[in-house]
Symmetry: C3
Subunit: 355 residues, 3 copies
Amino acid sequence: MKLSALLPIIGNASVAEHAADPDITGIASLHDALPGDLSFLANPKYTRQVETTRASAVFVPNDYAGAAPETCVLVRVDSPDKAFAAAVPHFTLPPIQRKPGIHPTAVVGENVTLGEGVYIGPYAVIGDGATLGARVIVEAHVVVGEECVLGDDVHLYPMVSIRERCRLGKRVTIHNGTVIGADGYGYATSVTPQGIRIEKIPQLGIVEIEDDVEIGANTTIDRARFGATRIGHDTKIDNLVQIGHNVRTGPCCGIVSQVGIAGSTHLGTGVMLWGKVGVAGHLTIADGVEVLANAGVPGDLRTPGQYIGSPAVPKREALRIFHMPRAVENLKEEVTKLKAQIKELQDRLNKEPDA
Amino acid sequence: MKLSALLPIIGNASVAEHAADPDITGIASLHDALPGDLSFLANPKYTRQVETTRASAVFVPNDYAGAAPETCVLVRVDSPDKAFAAAVPHFTLPPIQRKPGIHPTAVVGENVTLGEGVYIGPYAVIGDGATLGARVIVEAHVVVGEECVLGDDVHLYPMVSIRERCRLGKRVTIHNGTVIGADGYGYATSVTPQGIRIEKIPQLGIVEIEDDVEIGANTTIDRARFGATRIGHDTKIDNLVQIGHNVRTGPCCGIVSQVGIAGSTHLGTGVMLWGKVGVAGHLTIADGVEVLANAGVPGDLRTPGQYIGSPAVPKREALRIFHMPRAVENLKEEVTKLKAQIKELQDRLNKEPDA
Amino acid sequence: MKLSALLPIIGNASVAEHAADPDITGIASLHDALPGDLSFLANPKYTRQVETTRASAVFVPNDYAGAAPETCVLVRVDSPDKAFAAAVPHFTLPPIQRKPGIHPTAVVGENVTLGEGVYIGPYAVIGDGATLGARVIVEAHVVVGEECVLGDDVHLYPMVSIRERCRLGKRVTIHNGTVIGADGYGYATSVTPQGIRIEKIPQLGIVEIEDDVEIGANTTIDRARFGATRIGHDTKIDNLVQIGHNVRTGPCCGIVSQVGIAGSTHLGTGVMLWGKVGVAGHLTIADGVEVLANAGVPGDLRTPGQYIGSPAVPKREALRIFHMPRAVENLKEEVTKLKAQIKELQDRLNKEPDA
């Protein structure tokens, strides 16, 4: 495909006059590109890679001021990321499509309601009384519990399991191995003359997931002790995340891989938790809070902004902590100087009487 | 259901004379309750929510001294948590019950011993030579390996997989997606003239889980290199926990979500590891140790009590570390003062000769 | 089995003259051993356990200088660890062997290519167009996506799922519940007058795993946005690990349990990441870097060696940070002394005029 044929697809783009019009045969990152490949510069960290790339063409920001090899045509665009995303499907295989139908090995329970165009894959198990909306895709080896409700266009990848009575909104996508609605961790522990006594607190609520939520692989979202654990619409959750019983997230939250949120904590709108963040239970996290990777949150965060560290503090305070080793070194040096000065004063005073 | 009809169920409770006797139609937290709902105050953090709740009745501790809206009846009880737990089943659907029987799609191997009242769900696979005790529930899509032994009343949720020869005691419950008995991470690495050489150490032991253990979803417990990885009776393990080969836990331990315990570490009785705690390998953790969330444990903990931080230290020491930024600020101020005082002394001494 | 009969199996070993020749009936750690057991001393931490062990024989290093009970024969060997590993199979059951064949319940798609000696277990699902090399073992309940390619001697344990078009080299082993090729976490977020707008970035690449890689249980490795997420040959990955889209690891890396590596990060050769390490996205980690447990890596690590802490720093620097509380205490004491000395100087100067 000629570069010139590709440009109309990506919208507002400009190419230097007299530039070559190479054949584009593939896509790759700046570092990996070979002749024939199209690449892009979205992250300024990679700017210097443009200068040495072997790509035949690179999407760069309109204000890109750097150079490029002679073999590489620079295409100036408003958003290199979006332009590249528009070009990618022309050089990759499309995702697998599922045709409506129920595989003969699927076990569909009694009183199940199926919308039009539903796909149910090999060995999927749909519990009694479940409801699947239109165009729902339930892939191989998915287990949907009794009386679950799945909205239109839900897509469950293989090995997903959903316990009884949970409710998923429209266009919810859940990746392989994720578990929705297992019992939360809830026990009443007491110390008796006979030893430690641990009783299970029944977990009788459900999980409710609103529209347009996507959840990654091998994540776990626990059912509520009573009522519902709730994930707000448009929230995106990554792999291996733990969400405890009775947690609620607002809409449009981002919850990155290996985050853990303990029971009954509430996230506001647009909260962003980066990789491995841990949040204690029964907390309130305000709209617009962003917690950076690896942080631990032991208390409410009531003001929007960036937090960092364990225990998490506003980023500005954290920088002070990170610079503390330097501050302590400086103090040591100052104290050493002061000691010398005092010694000198003492010596002078001790001499004075003799003077 | 009238509140007065509910009270006998929950035992020792007192209501103010002349209080109303509302119809209770549901249950909810203080914050979410609507008229008709019953709620409870167990965590003092939520005390102020009683004053504004819309619940029709609230269980409070006997010594509760606060107010409540006119529309809300306060019910004084010994344990609001337990009273509420006793009331919840009257307003929620019961958990799904499995009737004994073997689904026609289940694959049961040769020489399998099944106790009375066993349930085996769709597509479950039971390996040759396995033994299942009375009333064992093996849900859809569970894989039980060859020669495994499951005690009476074991309950395995969908997608659980147990590798060959592992042994589970009575009343062990394991939630969806958990893996028992995969190979531990064990390699012999050497550097040779040809490069790094990595050889697998065979993992030929098993996992033994004692009575009354509950394990959450998507957790992994590795088989021993030889002998057994062992989980003590009444220990409760949450979701996404990693337990390495040859680990042993005492009875009555609590291991919360995303904890990782490296190989050959031994936990005593009643050890509590909160969310995301990491414990290095070959360590001894004493009876009654409690490690707070997010901590990392690089060495033995031989004294009971609370530990915190990474590397974990006794809580009291940790507070000193957390207060260090303040201490450094104080030192800076003191050093500044000392400098001024020394300057003044120097000035005075320098003048003296002239005096 | 007589000890003397066992020794030829383990190679270069020496036993004191006139030592007894006990019957060996089992194997155990020094701490757990009973009479009849063989044990070994590999980790010097356990040296004192040799003195009190009840084992009938113990493999010790050639230079072992300690004592042992009279009931215990010390066997001096070059590597107690290797000698013990050679002895273990004589006292444990062998791993389960799968005989070639396709279980009648397996669903094998159209245009699937199967090498000789393949085993496909109950309820496994092989997608259209997939290729399985010779002697591949696909256990019960595995789902292999469309057009995947599995090299000779690949072994997939139950519940593994591999999304479409991913490629595994020869002798790749993957344990239960692991997900290869789920979509990475990739969204374009913008704030519009109508609120936060979150669009999914299609994830159209694959995962490529080179020869001799082993991957633990419930781990997730995301498919690339475009191109491939790549795991280098001989790399060993533990349980519950997250590897983001477009990550690349060199050969011979070790990635221990609960590690998370964010998107587009590249690891060199022989990189070792211990338990729970988090690595941010778009980073370069040099050959021979070792990051100790629990650390967080926010930036490139360009020099081989050990790193520790969050943010991770070279181990030497970290020790300074760990010792900071001590340093601050010392400074406090010094400042207190200086204050006293200045006070004394001031007093003397104040008196002088009167002298």
